[in-house]
Subunit: 477 residues, 2 copies
């Protein structure tokens, strides 16, 4: 863009949302331009912070007129660089953070209408204040936003019972690539009036439009909740234990998180104040959570009886049922601190894969074997949401090896892991999305037929390709 | 199409799937050309009955080459004429009924892979044989097919707990408008690798492609199930009772069906062998179902205690808990026979609407009032899936009025009902779809912005407009 055009463009943006919300200063821009894992730093013409849906619409129209690309951004907690602009600096970042109102809560309909920039935690708190539960739960809930959760179809620990963000959303408000406001803010459990645009925008990572608000489902707050930490001898036992608990507890099972011993070792090494649950090491652990409308006493009876059955049939090695809030918090802190412990330990190679649950044991056996053969001594940080078939299958360097040397193997390690994932009919991105980080790999694993249909939709809804171009698709014109 | 082209076209179809599966005889075609409520009779060049996904793909390619429009059809139980060809006879019907294999059942992953032509009931039975539950449940389950259930995003009585067909499907196989086979048969609970094509095809009523197979979710079969028939004094009480049961039973509440007294009167008049549940009439009734992994005794305790609380707080007038299979069957037969009883009584004007649950009482009060003012004595057949906010809000003529006279008011009555629905932020088609029956009304209630995005997607995925043209969209070129 020539200097004069650029000036006119920025003047229009300033006129639309006020100079204080058009960030041009390099220092002020910094936090919007780098991802939180500090892997990529982009550049932008400006950071735009609109304060309303109409202001978003006006900005999109201006961008469309001046052919300026748009990178929508929420809490900037994404893991695949979907919210970071390219280094050429030709795009603007539109931050949704000022759209942070809870617009409405309808307790009799069990719905809440919130703007895209609301922090996930604030939505959870608002729901709780009305004796309701908003069940999406992520490690980053204090800083991620609902808009980002929707754009990436976020998952987390409650998916087993309540589904991904897609299942938790009833309606959307979206500014499309023309700068029109689509009011799809329906609060309905059933609506079969045409194509499912809602689910198309959810998970599209800002490439089809900008989500500005949403109607989300609420649930009754459970009366009681119990957490247990269970030691397991093998992955096959873990899966059989999952099936047993699912059979006995049905929808009461609201969490089933898996960790291997090495994950736990890292946590206890870097967070020495956390209490160790077991004194003896075991290959795997499950952190399970049961929630119920009933009393804690009834729930405890059922949980203990299930653990007894599991123990008698040799499925589990040991189990601790948490009887205090602090014990429960300690167990969840262990689980939620695995990523942070890894970061403290050094660099590692991360994967966010999902598999049919029936294939997980074979996958782990074969992939561990292939990696050990190629990189003897590499250390497996295996954890994740087993109930959803979702593993964070991360790999740390062999003891003593320098991080940066090991990281040079990233491409080949990704290929080993993702080829096996593909072989077992899994997904190379269970809950983080594609962004720019996995778009090359998407070409490898997604059929041309599917990619062509996706490109057709992208072109139909964003013919000028101004909405987050370069994300998801490797090349698109 | 000229006669010579037509002959070549049909010869190619015969070559592709065999002469015995290309139905040209008028009598043999009849059942494919008329909807089951007998409201519209279409015409077709031929009825094509492919036996495999590849045969479907070949037929689509032939149709594309010869510019022949395609009407995909499942069990032909639809309610909005989405599977009936136009009267001009220029299209072929592609019936999926021969694609009726259960391809795979993976009990450890809780998934079943089935072809589009499988009867819903057969899928339920297959799941049951593996001690699993496939929870979609409709009155037409003995004749509707999975492909049709997917194409219309079917609902029914289990949605409250398990969701619509969209929530029950993990993956699809689709023949797109080019005749390519998209293998999206994923069996994953989490997969964020690009746009959600699955949910786009689900509910698109055959206008974007032909669904040929699907991976569906299975659940643990509940150990116990209890049904209760509850008498209620008002719609407001019904909703408060729903909230109370939801709060106390959470995911154990698997059904909450509403009926008004007149619905019950019709059933007992036309099915005199069904047992009456209550000797005294009440304005409304709820049929509720609780399901649990626990024993029936525990479940019964909880149900009875909830009913007691509801009774003490004056929410319910009377209640019967079913203690035998025959009593349970009788109650569900009453509920499932309302449509049939209406048909025996004569013609009536039907609606399939949904509303935010918090707005239903106001909607019914205002709409009943508006209708009575305009058509004094008209009789309200109000029933439906209250737990989902979904009402079948049907209207019978005043006693003594000739059906056909009353039916002349259909357009104005639809407008009164749907305008009120729209006013209360509801949907004019909760679970039946648009087809041809509601496409005029869609123009009235859907925003231009939304319709334009839908048309853009239609054009992107079916540029020649050969997939079920004239359905959903009033005019599309």
């Amino acid at each position: 863009m020539g200097a004069i055009y650029m000036k006119t463009f920025l003047d229009l943006c300033i006129k639309a949302i006020g100079a204080e919300h058009v960030i041009l200063d390099e220092l002020d821009q910094a936090s919007y331009l780098v991802d939180w894992r500090n892997r990529k730093r982009g550049q932008a013409l400006a950071i735009l912070r609109p304060g309303s849906t109409l202001e978003v619409a006006t900005l999109v129209k201006i961008c469309s007129t001046y052919s300026v690309n748009i990178v929508p951004q929420g809490g900037n907690t994404g893991l695949v660089l979907g919210g970071i602009p390219e280094v050429n600096g030709s795009a603007v970042v539109i931050s949704l953070k000022r759209l942070n109102k809870i617009r409405d809560i309808d307790v009799r309909n069990n719905t809440i209408t919130v703007e895209a920039g609301c922090l996930l935690e604030n939505v959870q708190i608002s729901a709780g204040n009305s004796q309701r539960l908003f069940p999406l739960s992520l490690a980053s809930q204090g800083s991620c936003t609902i808009g980002g959760n929707l754009a990436t179809n976020a998952g987390g620990t409650g998916v087993l019972r309540y589904g991904n963000m897609r299942e938790l959303c009833l309606g959307l408000e979206v500014v499309n690539a023309k700068g029109e406001v689509w009011n799809g803010l329906r609060a309905l459990r059933k609506d079969n009036t045409g194509y499912d645009l809602r689910d198309l925008f959810i998970g599209s990572e800002g490439t089809l439009g900008i989500i500005t608000a949403a109607v989300l489902k609420l649930y009754s707050k459970p009366n009681s909740q119990l957490t247990a930490f269970v030691a397991l001898n093998s992955m096959i036992d873990a899966i059989n234990f999952l099936l047993l608990i699912q059979k006995r507890s049905g929808a009461e099972l609201t969490g089933f998180e898996l960790m291997n011993q090495f994950s736990l070792d890292l946590v206890h090494k870097h967070f020495p104040t956390f209490q160790q649950v077991f004194s003896v090491a075991h290959p795997y652990y499950a952190l399970i959570e049961l929630s119920s409308g009933e009393t804690e006493l009834n729930l405890k009876d059922r949980l203990e009886s299930s653990l007894e059955v599991a123990n008698t049939s040799g499925l589990i090695e040991d189990a601790v049922v948490c009887f205090s809030e602090s014990q429960t918090a300690n167990c969840w802190q262990i689980r939620e601190s695995i990523s942070a412990a890894q970061a403290k330990e050094g660099r590692n190679i991360k994967h966010d894969i999902s598999l049919p649950i029936s294939k997980i044991a074979d996958f782990i056996f074969e992939t561990n074997h292939a990696l050990q053969e190629r990189f003897p001594g590499c250390q497996m940080v295996t954890f994740g949401h087993l109930g959803d078939g979702n593993l964070h299958y991360n790999i740390s360097p062999p003891e003593g090896e320098v991080d940066s040397d090991f990281l040079q193997n990233q491409v080949i390690i990704n290929q080993i892991v993702h080829d096996k994932t593909h072989f077992f009919h899994g997904s190379i991105s269970a809950e983080h999305g594609i962004g720019t980080l996995k778009k090359q790999e998407l070409l490898r694993y997604k059929s041309t037929i599917e990619l062509d249909m996706m490109r057709g939709i992208k072109t139909a809804l964003d013919p000028e390709n101004i909405m987050n171009p370069g994300k998801i698709f490797e090349t698109i014109q």
